[in-house]
Amino acid sequence: MPIATMVGWAGDVLAELAMVIGGIVVLLYALAAGPRRQVGAAWLALATTGVALALTIPALGEPGRLTFAGTYAHDAAAAVARVIVLLATGVTVAFSVPWFRRDPRHGEYYTLLLFGALGAMLLAGAAALTELVVAMLMSSATGFVLAAYHRKSSAAAEAAIKYYLVGALANAAMLMGVAILYGLAGVTTLDRLAAGLPDSASPAASVAVALVMVGLMFKLGAVPVHVWVPDVAQGAPAPIAGFLTAVPKVGAFVFLARLVLVLPPSALGWEVMVAVGAAATMTLGNLACLWQDDVRRLLGWSAVSQTGYGLMAVAALGRSDLAMAALLYFLAAYVPANLAAFGVVVTLRGRTALTDYPGLANEHPTAAASLALSFLSFIGVPPLSGFVAKLLLFVVAIQAGLAWLAVIAAANTVISIFYYVRVLAPVYFAAAAGRMRTLGAGAALATAASAAVLVVTGVIAQPLVAAFAAATPGR
């Protein structure tokens, strides 16, 4: 391999390299610094995401191509996913600083966070099954540890064990699927996978694709491997709960889109799989939310149902020109809404019982407004970005001949009003039982900023929609 080629390839993954280096620097710093200086690791992590973001921005305008011998995509979808992941990671760092302030030994937490984000970034760029495995394991392994970071909390331990067991199962299934696909096609890169697969419907290929999808569905929190989501949302440290229910999804959605785009149309039944999975995921997530008295658990189930909406775009891929743009816009709308909701929980020091929230609007109007904007965006109320996202999802579903899925999504949206309002009504209409103590201003500021993004990208949607539509031609 000529050195010049290697250097050229490295130039395509500068942001990823920055994350690796930053993660190692943070780890070394955490080992060297005393308990009082651990917070410095947060600043280093923030700087790392900033550098990686700066290195990603130029890639946004470049034409798409494959790099690393066809195993890694350097295109708009990957760049957009990286931007979303990095911004979300920065917000998570802002949530984590006050949350872990009392923890004397938490510097390495930020290394795990950076590597977790890197896993999602690699997943978004992966264009080969081998890259998929690396990215999935990187994202999963860090996720398990992050979920259990409160070593003495039994809720965190339970969540992490569940996360780990489901994850191990799903990852094993995925590995098996990857092995079968390689055996059938003789290649691992996606661009040549389609040509290598048998033309007609082959049971082995169908099973292999289904097994790989199980791994991705686990990352997405989709039915039937969704059971970890509510537990992690409830038990993991609150900043991490927001991170794990949003960031890995970004990578998994983009890879899933890449995968289904190269599969032979309809021969393997993946369209039915994804569409039925979408319907089941949104419906189950919604129904489970209905009588939830724990806000974090509710957010977890709502994250499941939101995945179901996002899968509509995947199901429409190849049959609607806007499907990829709809998926990316959905992610750009979903992630900040999820972060804002968990940010309110963080700001309120992890208060999670529904009975802890009455009167929030009087005590902390900004936190209440952030929660309201986040929930209204989840519902899809204009002019928030959640509305534009739902509009795009409905459009592509109808265009792809999946109008029934759009109708199910609309029915689910009506159901979702009930439980979101069940939280919001006491926040606005009831009196507070006592003083509500909050964490530092940093978390509140990051929460408000996430909520503000929902308004800005909703009202001024054109730049994003146009960029996403232009960057993904013919998809």
Binding site: V381, P382, V414
Partner: protein, 498 residues
Amino acid sequence: MLTAAIFIPILAAALLALLPRSRGLGASPRALAVAATIVAVVPLVLVAAAWLRFDGASGFQQVETVPWIPTLGISYRVGVDGLSLPLAAMTALVFTVAVAYPVDLRGRPVPYYALILFLEGASVGVFLALDLFLFFVFWDVSLVAMYFLIGAWGHGDAQRSALKFFLYTFAGSLPLLLAILGVYLATDPHTFDMAEIIRQQPLAGGGVYAALVFAGFFAGFAIKTPIVPFHTWLPPAHVDAPGPASAILAGVLLKMGTYGFVRILMSMVPGVWAELSLPLAVLAVVSIVYGALVALAQTNLKRLIAYTSVNHMGYVILGLAVAGAAAPGQEAARALALTGATVEMVAHGLITGGLFLVSGSVLARGGTYDLDSYGGLLGRARSLTWITALLAFASLGLPGLAGFVAEVQIFVGALAVYPALAAVALLGIVITAGLFLRMLGRLFLGALPDRWREFPDLGRREAGLLGVLGALVLLIGVVPGWLLGTIDAFAGPFVGRP
């Protein structure tokens, strides 16, 4: 101009939301009320100015447009025609009166005025929007604002009523959204521009697709209007909302449904509407008679008025069913019915809006809506009596008042196209007359119970504001020409009258 009418109240609401609660304007409810009223008048003045510049031609005028999401064919586009002008003007007037009307603010004046001004901008926007996407945005945000107004300042089981309102109307707005997307995807190139869609008539071919789009629009508008059997959200929401919010709900928000029927459903899927106009007319007559009968059985003042809304919306739908019917040679009758239905929208907004404000004042003084606990108030509260009587007579269709102008045109049109149904619907008028007379008797005549010896009359502010509504009801009743002429500029070409 029109844009300012929409966004000045919304900007003012945003400024209010940022206002410190404990100092300055935020600490003085009186000053806040004056400031909010001044802002609320702005759209009224601007829409009135637009009306003065209106030249009576058909088609959209004074259009203001900016590309919004051109990739998806979405523009910010507002404008007026003979249909939207009267409704936008009525909206701005009802809001001005409602904002200025005294109400128990529960110690939270700033969010109250912020929400109500925001709702004013959104409501005016619904009637002026000429882009389906924009229309839907205003439509949906008005739901959210009204939800908070009912939930936070309502009484009784306010939160439950607010939730029911929100769930029902949002359940209607999603089929509406899907139908909008159905129309959008049928256009070529894809566009949300109403004028362009009406020109293209992408669903003229009929078939299952057009029927599904029709069903989606119908669900959305029928729930909002409401038409029986989609009306069950209406009584609790009206009863538990604070007086001004009920006035807005009945006066303005219900009209969004009937306006949507004309502006969108009848304009964009006219074929299906014509095919179904007989069943629609039957449904309208059911609403008329059912609403009147249920109202007759009420002992709660506000519930009674709420059910008369169901009855009155039935007249509107009857007029619209006639206007969209495939009745060759009956263009004049159909135009008459359409004009009548539109006048009914305006008249109902003024009259029922006024009646709900009255019921708010009655509650503030007597603490109950129970008609049986009142009586003989004529001697104690003269201006309350006269203004209520005027509005009640207008509502039951007394000649010389606005309701009569509307109903007579609807019935003349209906008699030409569906004579049997029109005859049944007349029954509704009779029952409504009876129930309003009985309501007036129970409130104002008979012996004055001892506990109401000190019942205070309307204050100057209340009497003045209700007087404005009453005067306009009288004006439309006596000299309706200016209003009918404007509406006819839309109605004539709409039905293709030669």
